[in-house]
């Protein structure tokens, strides 16, 4: 019985907690910062897509970069196949 009383008052004490007055504001500041960075990223992406859509030179540059990457990958692959063939043969 005595133990129960002690336990109950301990439990009540553990339920008592003080929250900083500015806690909500701190969380909301972080949330707004996150939203701001999201908006910046989104507007950058939109600008990039716009640039590619309306500028033929940018469109050509992107296609050329993709093609160049593909060619480089192909060369690396052929090179590795040939070098393996030489080793095995």
């Amino acid at each position: 019985m005595k133990d129960n009383k002690v336990y109950e008052s301990w439990r009540l004490r553990k339920r008592q907690i003080d929250v900083s007055q500015n806690f909500t504001d701190r969380v909301m500041n972080q949330v707004y910062q996150l939203e701001q960075s999201r908006n910046i990223t989104q507007s950058k992406m939109e600008r990039f897509i716009e640039l590619i859509s309306y500028n033929p030179l940018a469109k050509f540059g992107l296609v050329a970069a993709g093609a160049a990457t593909g060619v480089v990958r192909l060369i690396i692959m052929i090179n590795s196949i040939l070098s393996n063939g030489v080793i095995n043969g």
Partner: protein
């Protein structure tokens, strides 16, 4: 009181400020849960901040058909607490505050001593048992909600709470405090 689903819908539709209502509603239980799990009063608000920020980021993935918002939020708080406990060194429990109900200083001293024993017993519990006890005894969550948070069966939760209470009871045994 505005319904939770309405607030969540408003946030998802771009009304960021509505999230403040959710923070205000849940800040106390979330901070208290973390404080009782990690023993560090100084960092529990920082962790709680991370919990709310993570909740905001993940809000589009919240499915009310699967769980209530509180269960979902407590699950995030549980995971963040586990991560924090892995990173930090476990801090000793601070001295309990004075209880204004005590009529005699001697009673207060004895009771404080018992509180320290209970705090130590709580600290020494298996983390799973401790989480179950904290959610049941300090947050008053029903067993099925705790089972959902811990992703185990209700029977397992009952067993964990019983074991935890048994350990706490053992901590109080053999003390002849003059408490009324």
């Amino acid at each position: 009181m505005i319904e939770e689903t309405g607030i969540i819908r408003a946030v998802l539709e771009g009304d960021t400020e509505s999230f403040r209502l959710l923070v205000q509603r849940y800040q106390k239980p979330v901070i208290r849960m973390i404080a009782n799990l990690i023993n560090d009063r100084h960092t529990c608000e920082d962790i709680a901040q991370e919990v709310f920020l993570a909740a905001y980021k993940k809000l589009p993935s919240f499915d009310p058909a699967r769980s209530s918002f509180s269960t979902w939020l407590f699950t995030i708080a549980r995971n963040k607490s586990i991560n924090a406990m892995k990173k930090m060194k476990i801090m000793p429990v601070s001295n309990p505050p004075e209880n204004p109900d005590f009529s005699e200083p001697a009673d207060s001293l004895v009771r404080d001593e018992l509180f320290v024993k209970l705090d130590r017993a709580l600290e020494s519990l298996n983390p799973k048992h401790r989480r179950a006890l904290v959610l049941a005894e300090f947050e008053n969550l029903p067993y099925d909600q705790i089972a959902q948070i811990e992703r185990v069966r209700i029977g397992t939760i009952k067993s964990r709470i019983n074991r935890a209470k048994h350990r706490l009871r053992s901590a109080l045994e053999g003390i002849d405090g003059d408490i009324q």
